[in-house]
């Protein structure tokens, strides 16, 4: 009997990942870039997330924000991406700002102590405010 293929089994993980994670970088004001993320950040989608964070951090803006409001799950692979992003930002004397409103994101950051690496904000307007 032919069984239906499990979701994603035929496609490389990176291809399937786009179904579960959306990322977009916006520039709401000069000098500020915001990476908006929607979906689940786990082993399937971590590479996509890493690419988006790298693009944000390698951009020219002094104010770098990752808006995690739409993230419904954050695995250790996602935490690792954020930590890498923080280190990369640090090298250019920037500090990543995270917008965190849900337990699904706040809990993993807090229980691992990872939140210490970031400026934490509860909304985007607050996060993009100020220079530097």
């Amino acid at each position: 009997m032919a069984e239906p293929a499990p979701l994603g089994s035929e496609a490389p993980a990176a291809e399937a990942a786009g179904d579960f994670l959306d990322t977009a970088i916006t520039r709401p004001r000069p000098g500020a870039a915001v990476l908006g993320v929607q979906g689940e950040v786990d082993t399937l989608t971590a590479t996509l997330f890493a690419d988006a964070v790298a693009e944000l951090v390698d951009g020219p803006e002094p104010t770098l924000v990752v808006d995690l409001t739409g993230v419904t799950f954050l695995a250790s692979s996602g935490l690792a991406v954020l930590i890498q992003g923080a280190h990369r930002a640090e090298k250019r004397n920037a500090r990543l700002r995270l917008v965190v409103t849900t337990r699904a994101v706040r809990r993993p950051l807090e229980i691992t102590g990872t939140d210490q690496l970031f400026d934490m904000h509860s909304d985007v307007h607050d996060a993009i405010g100020g220079d530097d």
């Binding site: 499990p6 979701l7 994603g8 089994s9 993980a13 399937a16 579960f20 689940e40 786990d42 082993t43 399937l44 799950f73 954050l74 695995a75 250790s76 692979s77 935490l79 690792a80 337990r103 699904a104 809990r107 993993p108 229980i111 691992t112």
Partner: protein
């Protein structure tokens, strides 16, 4: 298949119930398993942080095992729900004879932080089979000083 140390439903402790989930050992199916973990914890009156922790711990354990699993093999995940705690056993048949779960990774440290107890098991395979690799973790329902 090796058993799970006598975890058949008939042998579980009084007041405990067992849920077993088997999937292809594919990362694409881990969201389903972690959803089961989350649901069981919610029904067992875990506090919200403990539900989040268990969901993440199960995800981490399964992702670790899928990484070493043989192609087209099965991921078996058993939840033993007891009053005030859930014990989880996840295991796969490994693809290589010397496959091990490395415990010096960031993911493993996170897993240790999330669970109240976590251990890894390796059992040599019989015949031509690869070894069985398993992770057992324990999570209490909450109210733990941290």
């Amino acid at each position: 298949m090796s058993d799970l140390d006598g975890l058949s439903p008939a042998e579980t402790l009084d007041g405990a119930s067992t849920v077993e989930v088997r999937t292809s050992a594919s990362a694409a199916l881990i969201p389903t398993i972690r959803a089961v973990a989350s649901d069981l914890a919610a029904r067992a009156d875990f506090d919200l942080d403990a539900i989040s922790d268990l969901r993440m711990a199960v995800d981490e354990a399964c992702a670790t095992l899928v990484d070493v699993a043989a192609p087209s093999s099965t991921l078996q995940c058993t939840f033993l729900v007891q009053s005030e705690r859930i014990e989880v056993h996840a295991q796969v048949r490994a693809g290589h004879p010397d496959a091990v779960v490395s415990t010096d990774t960031f993911g493993w440290r996170v897993l240790q932080t999330l669970a109240d107890d976590v251990t890894v098991h390796h059992e040599p395979g019989a015949g031509g089979d690869g070894p069985t690799v398993g992770i057992r973790l324990d999570k209490r329902s909450g109210d733990l000083p941290r």
